[in-house]
Symmetry: C2
Subunit: 195 residues, 2 copies
Amino acid sequence: GMMGGPPQGGFPGQGGYHGTFAAPSPAVNDPMWGYFTAIAGQDGEVDAEELQRCLTQSGFSGSYNPFSLETCRIMIAMLDRDMTGKMGFNEFKELFTALNGWKQNFMMFDQDRSGTMEPHELAQAITSMGYRLSPHAGNAIMKRYSKGGRIFFDDYVACCVKLRALTENFRKRDAMQQGTVNFQYDDFIMCTMAV
Amino acid sequence: GMMGGPPQGGFPGQGGYHGTFAAPSPAVNDPMWGYFTAIAGQDGEVDAEELQRCLTQSGFSGSYNPFSLETCRIMIAMLDRDMTGKMGFNEFKELFTALNGWKQNFMMFDQDRSGTMEPHELAQAITSMGYRLSPHAGNAIMKRYSKGGRIFFDDYVACCVKLRALTENFRKRDAMQQGTVNFQYDDFIMCTMAV
């Protein structure tokens, strides 16, 4: 049965898995689907604790320090459009795509693999991602995300996640793409407190 | 010398402290000044690591878990109007006043001293502080700051700090107190990324 014929029982677990638990869905053929379901558990969604465990166990951070729970919560909040505090499969994949991009970007600046970049490099990294910010805003961000004069990978990712989520929230309200939005207090608090 | 006469040498350290290290200043008479200078060290300002150490050593959290470094950074960011990433004496006192208020508020809801409150109690606590938010905004905040269906003291304080800082940033721009602000993208990012 290994040369292309129909599966004769398959390897342990697989037959039972497909037959008993999973409804047929296009996601089943996705290499990340098995990974996702293993992490998500019974409720089929990933919360911050599950995400932290998964990013730690998968070795995503490599030689960098693992992500703090706080950063994982920011990641979930960024993608959690239905505000359940959890992530479905599509959001999970979207997050990994973004994380891979940010990691590559970080490693470009962290040439000596110290696990940190210099604060002024954060401003460069943000610019290289296509954001156009004033030196004043860049300075505020540098101060907020540096520790002992350095930017650590975990904080860099938290910064990228927030910047992306806040920009997305702003753009959604800037229908005419004018670069200005008239915020009601309640809406301002909602879309800034959640990330 | 214990009955009201002039000090006859005083207890160890005091004379030398005033005479040698501290320049005369109104702050010297403040009971918190010695505490502040001991924490602030050479540069005379308190950064997030110093704040965390001080809040842990002073036992501020009591039976609650000590504050995470992340929450301490948010506290500094809230009060750091000159954006140096550090706090002077007046900001330090302002923070302690706010912290004491939040702690009392938290303990009112945490009657069983579990160190947590329920998510819906967070919405009540926010209302009792005078904020008027919609159920939708309250819900977003609850989701963001809860862990395993509970709100922990550390996260509660981080939430209070952010809400206060964001509201202050909004008010400053709402000159006519209309409840709406027209934000430029750059300004929006600066005043939301910094907290």
